[in-house]
């Protein structure tokens, strides 16, 4: 990785770039002029509040928040309630993922099936639906969090793994290992995928180094991703027998055939990444203030950004190695989270991004495998279309609200 481009390119420029982040806390530097101010309505309070409590605060109170103390407790309570509702919804979808399918089980039937471990139902639930649901959940949560990390660190809502070469890099390496039957231990596949993800991301950032504004960086990323996608097509077409399922898996993501092995492969990596994620939170809070404020607080913005990007790369790579890049979940979930809680601190957004990522992925997988039962739709194609159209509409609405300002 090249530390400097990775760190400073999109973020360091905004003050000089034609883009608008006049408000130091604009979370979306790449947004239409003015949108940043709407997304983050605290700029007046932002810079002063954390500057005062900064040294003590990063770990406990990582956000630029707190000017309005009176409403805070109430808001926190409401936030907890709405998060609880979201979690309940997620639990309901997970339960549905266990119950629905062929054969359909009632929740009571589910319990009784677990009581009879030899029955067909228990086998279906225990060997097929449960690992698949868990893998989908893990992948969705990881991608939602990774998407948030990328978007916040690069301060651009379109900074998603799919546009930064991260997903495609990991997918290319994993596809090559599978198609050419390279002798790689199953447990090490995520490591190779990580190398691919880092390679793809570093290639993007290195190539984008001299591109001026954030949009050019994304365009470069889109071009690199397209080239890497082309390579995935090239690799899969060189297989002895071309299989469409392989393409869908590595380009869009799919949970077909996901079992305990895949889950066992990703679990240690994800568990290892979880503390990193927690460590990233204070960095996100400070990076969200803008590079100047971050330096004033004694944080090297380039290095902090690199750390956040590396964590995101781990999350994406591990997911891709197991089930492919579940397309654009990393775009939709954070954008939706920001839409639901536009004023929230990074911790809340991260929780919501993870929750929504899991919700979208498990829900989409449930729909993909049950909607037209004998035929299983490709999960990633599903989430990709829905995620892109939904996410762009949300961004557009945010931009439209900014017009009057």
């Amino acid at each position: 990785m090249t530390p400097d481009p990775a760190g400073s390119r999109p973020g360091a420029r905004p003050p000089a770039a034609p883009l608008p982040p006049a408000g130091p806390a604009s979370a979306v530097a790449g947004e239409p002029a003015g949108a940043g101010q709407v997304e983050e309505p605290h700029p007046p309070a932002g810079p002063s509040a954390p500057a005062v409590r900064g040294p003590a605060g990063p770990r406990t109170a990582p956000g630029p928040r707190g000017a309005d103390t009176p409403g805070r407790a109430g808001r926190g309570l409401r936030g907890a309630a709405s998060f609880g509702a979201g979690a309940a919804l997620l639990a309901a979808v997970c339960l549905a993922a266990l119950c629905l399918g062929e054969p359909v089980l009632s929740p009571a039937g589910l319990v009784s099936a677990i009581g009879r471990p030899d029955s067909l139902e228990a086998l279906v639930v225990g060997e097929v639906r449960l690992p698949r649901m868990l893998l989908g959940l893990a992948a969705g949560v990881a991608l939602g969090c990774a998407g948030l990390l990328l978007q916040e660190a690069l301060r651009n809502p379109l900074a998603v793994p799919e546009l930064l070469g991260v997903s495609a890099g990991a997918a290319g390496v994993t596809a090559a290992i599978t198609v050419f039957g390279l002798p790689v231990a199953a447990g090490l596949v995520p490591a190779f995928a990580l190398a691919g993800a880092v390679g793809g991301g570093a290639l993007c950032l290195a190539v984008a180094r001299r591109a001026g504004d954030a949009a050019s960086v994304l365009l470069t990323g889109a071009a690199v991703s397209t080239a890497l996608t082309g390579s995935v097509y090239a690799i899969t077409s060189m297989a002895d027998r071309f299989e469409l399922g392989l393409v869908f898996r590595y380009l869009m993501g799919s949970l077909v055939g996901a079992g305990w092995e895949e889950l066992a492969m990703v679990a240690p990596w994800l568990l290892g990444a979880a503390p990193l994620l927690v460590l990233c939170l204070p960095l996100l809070g400070v990076l969200g203030l803008g590079d100047d404020a971050a330096s004033a607080l004694g944080l090297d913005p380039a290095r902090a950004r690199l750390a956040v990007l590396a964590t995101a790369a781990v999350l994406v790579a591990v997911t891709v190695a197991a089930c492919g890049p579940v397309s654009w979940v990393g775009f939709l979930a954070p954008v939706l989270a920001r839409r639901l809680h536009p004023h929230a601190e990074p911790r809340t957004r991260l929780l919501w991004s993870g929750l929504l990522g899991g919700l979208v992925t498990v829900g989409a997988d449930l729909a993909a495998r049950t909607a037209l039962h004998p035929i299983e739709l490709p999960l990633g194609a599903f989430t990709g279309s829905v995620g892109i159209v939904g996410g762009l509409l949300l961004l557009r609405a945010a931009g439209a609200k900014a017009v009057p300002r």
Partner: protein, 350 residues
């Protein structure tokens, strides 16, 4: 005056450009004829003579490779001109069928038509379905890109994303209709595998009409290049002129897409290279962009065939071979990055 003079000096004389491009197109097509499976290079010439010594070889050459080369040249020309028209009409040097939702929409239109049974493959109805899809894809990008759509880079990023969304929808349909692998690869990335004379016959009239119309529209293009105010001052209603040009562009993209799928970046690179070669005169740009597009697609397919031959095959392999769309998207991405880094390019059109 001096500025114009300098601009002229940098470009190549038109006859030189056209002749050398024709030579390149011939070379690329020859590469397509020579390379491939089932017929070694040494046996191509005897098969071309049709002396009946090698009936299988003759069939491969005359019924598969020749139509394939013809389709590559025609579809490439369509994509090149389509990209040129889009770039002029939208005043955006990064516009091209695949970056404006038109290509992805056209593919979706064809696949949807095939799935619903409204159109049949290799029939003119498939071009019409692609046309409808292309218009729909362009409209979707227009809706989603919001207020910043006049910014070429922003529009392009959004165009890439919308293209991904459309190809996601295409994939769902492909799975639903249990498409066979070769066809699916064509709709996903653009491939010339399995083309026959019927495909060539399908694309020929549309290419001829579309490119002819584009050439006839070149005075309009010249006026549009000057901007809306200029167009009004010479008595041309910019909106209707632009609609006509855009329709022609979508038609050409639809013609290409309905036979080879969306071979990425041909429609972006061909017009950019064309204007670097011969300047801004549309009467020259249209044929030169067509030629460059033809060379690009045909050359990409020849390269793909060559690479496929080089990679060793397993004993019972039923390999499809490298799709031409992979080659064009990898090569095109490199050129696109070079174009973005040369900031001058982005500033000329806006």
């Amino acid at each position: 005056m001096t500025a114009v003079g300098r601009a002229r000096a940098r470009t190549v004389a038109a006859p030189v450009a056209v002749v050398s491009l024709l030579a390149l197109a011939a070379a690329a097509a020859a590469g397509q004829l020579l390379l491939g499976r089932g017929l070694p290079v040494a046996e191509v010439l005897p098969a071309l003579l049709r002396d009946g010594a090698d009936p299988l070889g003759e069939r491969i050459l005359w019924e598969l490779r020749l139509p394939r080369a013809a389709v590559a040249l025609l579809a490439g020309a369509c994509l090149g001109v389509s990209g040129l028209l889009l770039q002029v009409a939208l005043r955006n040097p990064l516009a091209s069928p695949e970056l404006t939702g038109v290509g992805g929409g056209a593919v979706l239109g064809v696949v949807l038509g095939l799935r619903t049974g409204l159109v049949s493959a290799q029939a003119h109805t498939s071009v019409l379905a692609a046309l409808c899809g292309g218009v729909g894809g362009g409209a979707l990008l227009w809706l989603l890109s919001g207020r910043r759509r006049s910014d070429p880079v922003w529009l392009t990023v959004n165009g890439v994303i919308v293209g991904v969304a459309l190809s996601g929808a295409t994939s769902v349909l492909l799975v639903l209709s249990q498409a066979e692998a070769a066809g699916a690869l064509r709709w996903l990335t653009g491939s010339l595998t399995g083309l026959t004379a019927a495909h060539a016959a399908l694309v020929l009239p549309w290419a001829a009409v579309g490119i002819g119309a584009a050439w006839l529209l070149s005075p309009v293009l010249a006026v549009l290049q000057g901007g809306d105010d200029h167009a009004r001052s010479v008595g041309l209603e910019p909106k209707s002129a632009r609609s006509a040009v855009l329709l022609c562009a979508v038609l050409l993209a639809a013609a290409a897409v309905s036979v080879v799928g969306m071979a990425g970046f041909v429609g972006l690179i061909a017009p950019l290279l064309a204007s670097a070669l011969v300047g801004r005169d549309p009467r020259l740009l249209v044929p030169v962009a067509a030629l460059i597009g033809a060379v690009a697609l045909s050359g990409a397919d020849a390269l793909a065939q060559g690479v496929t031959l080089l990679v060793p095959e397993g004993p019972q392999a039923q390999r499809l071979g490298l799709p031409a769309g992979s080659v064009t998207s990898i090569a095109g991405a490199i050129l696109l990055i070079a174009a973005v880094r040369r900031r001058g390019l982005l500033n000329t059109g806006t």
